[in-house]
């Protein structure tokens, strides 16, 4: 609709359109080039140099085969999936309960808790990694995927609460009241009425938690030092040599890591942006 208001007399439309589309092309090139270059490097037969992979002469999936089997990425994928699934389940349950509390009830310290949940997200992981390492070490849980998942639940819960809060608040209170009139208890209302209505929000929150667990690097790097416990983010480092790097394998592994995140991102983009802005602006 905004386009209509910006229309100019006919003679100037041509140049304006050319400029607009040139800018769009530039933005798209900058945005997509790294992803293109990554995929092209992973399927190119020749990965000796940058120009070799820019327009691959012949394509192969051999690199993927090598990365998944010999380089152990199947194992890392499995580890990452385990960690991500535990994180998603844990943070969804905790966040749904907490979001219901802050969106549906008024109680003392409610504002303080909301501000605390917001502020705690600003704490840099670099500050948490040292005490968490000592804590996890004392508990003998280094190299434990469960231990890592529990920490990831803590990392994703604050934002998940902010995100779900909006979804819970959006459910009309009248729907809840109707359930009470029909004689439902609070628990019955929660599971049979509220839960199904915020399910889309839970999907968005779950995907967000998945991405947190899948991408996290610094804690996984510190907690996991046995090769068979690596997650994908840490496993990627093995291709990076001090003097030579197998860029074909590196890019194939990067593609494997990136694909699920991109798919999820496209699925969740609306909720993610509104969640960020809402958590940020609305309070």
């Amino acid at each position: 609709m905004t386009v209509r208001t910006r229309r100019r007399p006919r003679t100037r439309i041509g140049w304006r359109a050319v400029g607009t589309w040139a800018a769009v092309a530039g933005v798209l090139f900058f945005t997509l080039f790294p992803a293109y270059f990554m995929v092209a490097s992973s399927v190119s037969v020749q990965t000796g140099s940058g120009t070799d992979v820019l327009l691959p002469e012949a394509l192969t999936l051999e690199t993927f085969h090598y990365v998944l089997t010999e380089a152990g990425f199947l194992l890392y994928l499995r580890n990452s999936l385990v960690v991500a699934l535990i994180t998603v389940l844990g943070s969804c349950v905790l966040a749904l309960l907490a979001a219901t509390a802050v969106a549906r009830f008024r109680f003392r310290m409610r504002t303080s808790i909301l501000v605390m949940v917001l502020v705690v997200q600003m704490v840099p992981l670099e500050a948490l990694v040292i005490p968490l390492f000592l804590q996890v070490r004392d508990l003998q849980m280094l190299n434990s995927l469960i231990g890592l998942s529990i920490v990831y639940i803590a990392l994703s819960v604050p934002f998940a609460v902010w995100m779900l809060r909006g979804f819970v608040a959006a459910v009309p209170v009248e729907v809840e009241e109707a359930a009470y009139i029909d004689g439902a208890s609070w628990g019955r209302m929660f599971w049979s009425v509220l839960f199904p209505l915020v399910a889309p929000g839970l999907v968005a929150t779950g995907i967000f938690s998945f991405i947190v667990a899948w991408n996290e690097f610094i804690l996984a790097l510190t907690f996991l030092n046995e090769g068979d416990k690596y997650t994908v983010a840490v496993g990627l480092r093995q291709f990076f040599g001090q003097y030579t790097t197998d860029w074909g394998a590196m890019m194939a592994a990067s593609t494997i890591i990136t694909l699920p995140v991109m798919l999820f991102f496209l699925a969740v983009q609306r909720g993610l942006v509104s969640g960020l802005v809402q958590g940020a602006v609305k309070g």
Partner: protein, 323 residues
């Protein structure tokens, strides 16, 4: 303010009381929110707040491998902080690498993101949706793989940038190692960060732009304002809160950049010229086992972020009470 916000009414009607039920039920109702909050608060408390307290305590100790083994603590007061603040390395390398970098990265991200948002506004519905989906892909690229892609693009020997520059005659056959020079190292980090960070700014600013009433532009147009004047005097003041949010969030994110530096050649300690606060703290703690000193660096980083966060919260809640 933003479009997405308007679609989610706040819980204004929440907090009704059960009318006909008894007093015991009312008491249970009072405890219910706390019961619901308890698991999340426990996890946050044990795994985020307690470690935060502990890192502050560690920063006042001389804590190395022997302490890790014995579990004893060795308090030295502000010793770590005095050592750090009198170290020229902090002032010459780590602080500029953190703050100056953040200024450029945030500036670049916000300016570029805003330009893209302005461009998106002029597009038709289908084109706009397509372009947004594409730029989302840049946001979705995990930091780990994204960083390696940029390292590959700028690879010193065989990278595409080097080959293009050499073909154009701008670089001799001996090449340039841009990962050893601090400035070029951070130029690549900045490019990486802008590429990863601008989609959030673009999409958020676009949401803000679409809320600006059209009448304002029409009035400005009648008054003979140029496009530039309309932007500065109509758009910017109207969506100033959006700019505040994206700027401060980007600042917080860019101060604690870790993987994007650590995974670059030399970024994990081999080249001390390129460390920022986060990586410096990590290397002191885990490569040199000086956990106390590393904690002190991390606490200083946290304090810087805390100041930015307070500014952020003030700009958020200035004219609106938290509901």
């Amino acid at each position: 303010m933003g479009d997405p916000v308007a679609t989610r009414p706040a819980a204004s009607t929440a907090g009704r009381r059960p009318s006909r039920r008894g007093a015991s039920l009312r008491a249970r109702r009072r405890l219910l929110p706390w019961t619901l909050l308890l698991p999340a608060l426990l996890v946050i408390g044990i795994l985020l707040l307690y470690p935060l307290l502990r890192v502050v305590l560690l920063s006042f100790q001389d804590y190395d491998l022997s302490n890790v083994v014995s579990g004893e603590s060795d308090y030295i007061g502000f010793g770590n902080y005095v050592q750090l603040l009198t170290d020229p390395y902090l002032w010459r390398v780590a602080l500029p690498n953190t703050v100056v970098f953040a200024v450029f990265a945030v500036g670049g991200t916000v300016v570029f993101g805003t330009l893209v948002a302005l461009l998106l506004r002029t597009l038709g519905r289908i084109a706009r949706t397509t372009v947004i989906s594409c730029i989302m892909l840049a946001w979705a690229m995990p930091a780990v793989s994204g960083t390696y892609v940029w390292v590959w693009i700028f690879d010193v020997d065989r990278g595409i940038v080097r080959q293009l520059l050499q073909a154009a005659g701008l670089v001799g056959p001996e090449g340039i190692n841009w990962f050893t020079e601090r400035l070029s190292f951070y130029a690549i980090v900045t490019l990486n960060i802008i590429h990863h960070g601008f989609p959030f700014v673009a999409v958020t600013v676009l949401a803000g732009l679409l809320t600006v009433p059209r009448e304002l532009y029409e009035a400005a147009l009648l008054d003979g304002a140029t496009a530039w004047q309309r932007f500065w005097h109509v758009t910017v003041p109207t969506i100033r809160p959006v700019f505040a949010v994206v700027t401060i969030l980007s600042t917080i994110w860019d101060f604690k950049v870790f993987a994007q530096v650590y995974l670059m050649p030399g970024g994990s300690g081999a080249n001390p010229e390129v460390l920022n606060f986060g990586v410096w703290s990590y290397i002191r703690s885990f490569s040199r086992q000086e956990y106390g000193l590393g904690s002190a660096i991390a606490v200083m980083l946290t304090l810087m972020l805390l100041v930015i966060t307070i500014v952020y919260l003030r700009s958020l809640f200035r004219d609106e009470e938290l509901r």
